[in-house]
């Protein structure tokens, strides 16, 4: 009898360990599944699995204080705060041509190296095509199998995204794009009162820019670097407040233009550097690294972004570590 008991108990312990290591948390789609799909068959060692191509920027965020009544976050009180950022294009190829990318993005870590840091990864589309990580995964699968029209037809919630896409004209410069938080967040004031918001970086320049070489893979990067030599590039950080009619947990629906809009301040980009040499390379622009005064909304995509970015960060850090170890051994 005690042998049976021992075998049963030992078996249960082993089974629990195997379950914890392999199955737990996987559900329908795991962070690993997402990143596997994004990186595709040819792994670009050391690079981000999504938005692999980009460069580092830095400068300061000049906060107006207009949002200070809504949030206790330091970055929203009047003042100038340094940031490290990254401008990038969608895709897993670190040498892809800038001008062919469907999505451009601007990511910031305002007040890095402090407890007040606020990370945001903003993209050119104002909305998601679908509202859940599982459907987003299906969308990525559809892109790979060239069945996107069918996917859109089967998912009516993609209508707002498709409407945006049909009107969207990529600009000739990263400095003249509009970058959106896409997901909603809550601002929290000192009394604990919450206000749902979305935000966007809106260009503050009339200079459309000149692409010197349309064929160059780095066409937009070159334009941006040469633009910076004539002075900083500015964006207005505009917050849109949700009303009772808006659902902060659904990133597929744009909020009405009539919603209150406030300017949190100006993003002043002063410097740019190649990503291998820049401070942004070590950062994961996880939109859930938020200071006190901010809270994530219930949007499930937001959690999935954080989890997938973390997995991508782990993989490229491991590759860079291995390259480092191998490099050290060669010397």
């Amino acid at each position: 009898m005690r042998y049976v008991l021992f075998a049963a108990a030992a078996g249960a312990v082993v089974a629990a360990a195997v379950y914890a290591v392999t199955v737990s948390g996987r559900a329908a789609v795991s962070a690993q599944d997402f990143v596997n799909l994004q990186q595709g068959d040819s792994i670009q060692a050391g690079f981000r699995r999504a938005h692999a191509k980009g460069f580092c920027i830095s400068g300061e965020f000049q906060a107006s204080g207009e949002l200070a009544a809504y949030s206790s976050a330091k970055a929203l009180q009047p003042g100038s705060y340094p940031f490290i950022g990254r401008i990038s294009i969608a895709g897993s190829n670190p040498t892809a041509p800038d001008l062919r990318a469907p999505v451009r993005s601007l990511a910031l870590t305002i007040l890095p190296d402090t407890v007040h840091q606020w990370r945001t990864a903003m993209n050119t589309p104002p909305v998601m095509a679908v509202a859940t990580p599982e459907k987003f995964y299906q969308q990525l699968l559809a892109i790979q199998s060239n069945t996107v029209p069918q996917f859109f037809a089967e998912h009516p919630e993609t209508a707002h995204f498709l409407k945006w896409r049909s009107h969207y004209q990529p600009t000739q410069s990263y400095a003249t794009e509009r970058y959106h938080s896409i997901n909603a967040f809550y601002l929290v004031d000192r009394q604990g009162k919450q206000q749902a918001v979305r935000w966007a970086a809106l260009p503050l320049t009339d200079d459309a820019g000149v692409i010197s070489d349309e064929e160059a893979a780095d066409a937009l990067q070159q334009e941006f670097f040469s633009r910076l030599q004539h002075g900083p590039v500015r964006f207005d950080m505009q917050f849109t407040l949700a009303t009772a009619n808006d659902n902060p947990a659904d990133a597929t629906i744009p909020w009405p233009e009539s919603n209150p809009q406030l300017s949190a301040g100006t993003i002043v980009i002063e410097q740019a550097s190649l990503q291998e040499e820049g401070a942004c390379n070590a950062l994961n622009f996880d939109p859930l690294v938020l200071p006190a005064g901010f809270l994530p909304s219930k949007d499930p995509i937001l959690r999935a972004r954080a989890a997938a970015y973390a997995e991508s960060h782990r993989r490229r850090a491991r590759e860079v570590l291995m390259q480092h170890v191998a490099g050290g051994a060669d010397e």
Partner: protein
């Protein structure tokens, strides 16, 4: 000098409290790195706070251990098994330090702020991708090693308690 039959009360209490804490931390950690679920962030915040408590706990536990008289394994246990038990025990102490420290340092190297119950904690490392890679891998692999060690430990304890009934299992239970 006669060795005691059981572990002192302080060590038994620490053993069982930390067993619960470490098992929860391992389950939470192994789940949250895969999940896209809405509670993933809650689990992550909890994991970080409890991980810091586990670091304090292992320091206290090591101090108690160094100051306590602990029972000897019975002579019926072979030399090989005695050695295996020693290695397992040392392995636990090492891993229970490595886990929270690598967790803390990987957060530092990722440039993420850490706080315990609202109290900000200092970053011991600058933001660095290679160091993040190092501590993230150490944290992940040490966790798997710890799971393996726990399985070996529990199976060995059950073997002593159910099959051999030699008092080894009881020494961590009661007087």
């Amino acid at each position: 000098m006669n060795k005691p039959q059981t572990y002192p009360l302080a060590m038994r209490v620490m053993h069982w409290l930390m067993a619960a804490l470490v098992l929860s931390l391992l389950f939470a950690g192994l789940t949250m790195v895969k999940s896209l679920g809405p509670w993933q962030q809650q689990l992550l915040a909890w994991h970080k706070a409890m991980g810091l408590i586990a670091l304090l706990a292992i320091v206290v536990r090591l101090i108690i251990r160094l100051r306590s008289e602990t029972p000897k394994l019975p002579d019926t246990v072979s030399k090989m098994q005695q050695l295996a038990a020693k290695i397992t025990q040392c392995g636990f102490y090492v891993l229970l330090f490595v886990m929270p420290l690598s967790g803390y340092l990987m957060q530092n190297a990722a440039g993420r702020p850490l706080s315990l119950f609202g109290l900000p904690l200092p970053a011991l490392l600058n933001t660095d991708l290679v160091l993040y890679g190092l501590f993230r891998e150490v944290h992940g692999w040490a966790a798997l090693l710890l799971v393996l060690l726990i399985v070996v430990h529990i199976v060995a304890a059950l073997y002593h308690g159910l099959i051999k009934q030699d008092g080894v299992f009881r020494s961590m239970l009661r007087k």
